[in-house]
């Protein structure tokens, strides 16, 4: 909207359709979707609509994770004031879980999410789906399913935003050092 950066940022809603298409074949019985707060939850809610027939047919359940209590930078940064309760209203044991996140970066959120999930039970498998992989991972973790690969510099910050009309968009913020 403001100063368009040189990187071309795709339309989040279009990426979401791609993500839904890629996810479709993974939706089997005994699969559950888990959105990571907050962007992952927005995406999941839209995926629940886009994939509604399959989800109903296969009886796919869903939940929400807020990984604040499992983050590795808690000692430095403390708790964000807007943490939300995690809600996993299904049996995690032996489920095939698809974690949904907005922008995959360092892998630390995924690590925290996996640790939290294991406190609910022992899943059969965990798959990570992200709207965008922006590169820069710091752990041996990568998403199996992404709608777009957008390599970014560490001074850039890509965020999923929920607009007042309930559409989603991606915003690139340059946190250039002064």
């Amino acid at each position: 909207m403001m100063n368009k950066p040189e990187t071309n940022i795709p339309n989040a809603e279009e990426l979401l359709t791609i993500l839904a298409e890629k996810l479709q074949p993974l939706l089997r019985e005994n699969t559950a979707l888990v959105g990571i707060h907050s962007g992952g939850v927005w995406l999941m809610q839209k995926l629940l609509v886009l994939l509604a027939p399959t989800i109903a047919e296969k009886g796919i359940e869903h939940g929400i994770l807020d990984v604040s209590f499992y983050r590795d930078d808690y000692a430095q940064r403390g708790l964000k004031s807007e943490n939300r309760p995690s809600q996993i209203p299904f049996e995690v044991d032996n489920k095939h879980i698809i974690l949904i996140d907005d922008v995959f970066y360092t892998g630390r959120t995924t690590r925290a999410a996996m640790n939290e999930l294991f406190d609910y039970g022992r899943p059969a498998s965990i798959t990570l789906a992200a709207l965008v992989n922006r590169g820069g991972r710091e752990l041996p973790i990568a998403p199996q399913i992404v709608a777009a690969e957008i390599p970014l510099d560490s001074s850039q910050n890509l965020q999923l935003v929920q607009n007042p009309d309930n559409t989603l968009s991606l915003e690139l913020i340059n946190t250039s050092q002064t």
Partner: protein, 328 residues
């Protein structure tokens, strides 16, 4: 502004009393506790937030219930917990409070939960400890018991989320209660429009009206149309003085019975900090009745104490370091 509870960035550093906590921090604690309620319902009732930290329960005065809830809260956060009944150990050998604290700091304690019969004990320790150590007041004399006040607030908010439309009655020994004053303060801060106190004159502090409450000496008038009834514990030791005639007499006038409770709104809830004197301030049929939220208070007490410890122990680094590595 020199508030020992907050650091220079306005973040919570110690929890000593509810007075002096801005609305923002009160809400932060209540909201965080919301997330901890669910933790107790999981297969693994623990989160790793305080892994490797040592929480030291320093109880100069006995209180099994409070100590147990703090212990459970710290353990659910994965902290190591040491509970000391100091009254029965070093203190009786003549060691001062600060010597005891210094020794525990030398053993690398990270947080102190302090219970003392004297007002101001937790403040005194908080002033003494180095920056990285946090102090929680678990009750000091008649002065304050902030986590009890917070868990009451949390319970009220859980059952009656619209605080801006509530009528709350606090009933009983307001004079000796260490939570009543904090509670009145917090309820007002969070926007509760009408707080009443119902008690005999002898159990009310002087000029209690100045706290912004409506004073009643008659249960029937005071309970009319309230949404929340907060019973206070009547301390048996007060019975002997000139303050009260007898337990039976007190129960007749100020004890909460179904009959008196029926004057409140039909969906009113009843709170009590425990331990209860059944048949003195509250009738068993009310304590065990459908409107009682006394046991949920205990459950939420753990979540509140977890929230306070989690907020205190987190964020030791600078605020500015947050933009980096915050991504997924």
């Amino acid at each position: 502004m020199n508030n020992p509870q907050l650091d220079t960035d306005g973040r919570l550093r110690h929890l000593l009393s509810i007075e002096g906590l801005p609305k923002k921090i009160l809400n932060q604690i209540l909201d965080t506790a919301e997330s901890f309620v669910g933790v107790a319902e999981r297969e693994v009732k623990k989160v790793p937030l305080l892994r490797g930290k040592t929480v030291c329960n320093l109880f100069f005065e006995n209180s099994t219930r409070t100590r147990t809830t703090f212990e459970i809260a710290a353990k659910r956060l994965s902290a190591d917990v040491i509970s000391l009944n100091v009254g029965t150990s070093s203190q009786s050998k003549g060691e001062t409070i600060l010597d005891t604290v210094d020794n525990l700091i030398a053993m690398h304690a990270d947080m102190f939960v302090v219970r003392h019969s004297q007002s101001g004990a937790a403040h005194f320790i908080a002033k003494h400890v180095p920056d990285h150590i946090h102090v929680i007041n678990a009750g000091d004399g008649r002065h304050s018991h902030p986590t009890q006040g917070l868990l009451d607030l949390f319970t009220i908010r859980k059952y009656k989320p619209d605080l801006h439309n509530l009528r709350v009655a606090i009933v009983g020994d307001v004079l000796h209660s260490r939570v009543a004053r904090s509670e009145i303060h917090a309820l007002t801060t969070l926007g509760v429009p009408e707080v009443r106190v119902i008690a005999p004159k002898t159990l009310l502090p002087a000029q209690v009206e100045k706290l912004g409450v409506h004073v009643f000496h008659d249960m029937k008038a005071g309970l009319k149309d309230v949404d929340v009834v907060m019973m206070l514990r009547l301390q048996n030791e007060r019975m002997n003085g000139a303050m009260l005639p007898s337990a039976q007499e007190y129960f007749k006038t100020y004890g909460l019975t179904q009959e008196k409770l029926s004057l409140a709104k039909p969906d009113a809830i009843v709170l009590h900090p425990g331990p209860m004197n059944r048949g003195v301030e509250i009738d068993s049929s009310v304590a065990d009745g459908a409107q009682s939220v006394i046991l949920p208070q205990v459950t939420y007490g753990i979540a509140i104490r977890m929230a306070v410890m989690a907020i205190l122990a987190g964020g030791q680094g600078s605020n500015q370091a947050s933009s980096q590595g915050s991504g997924s």
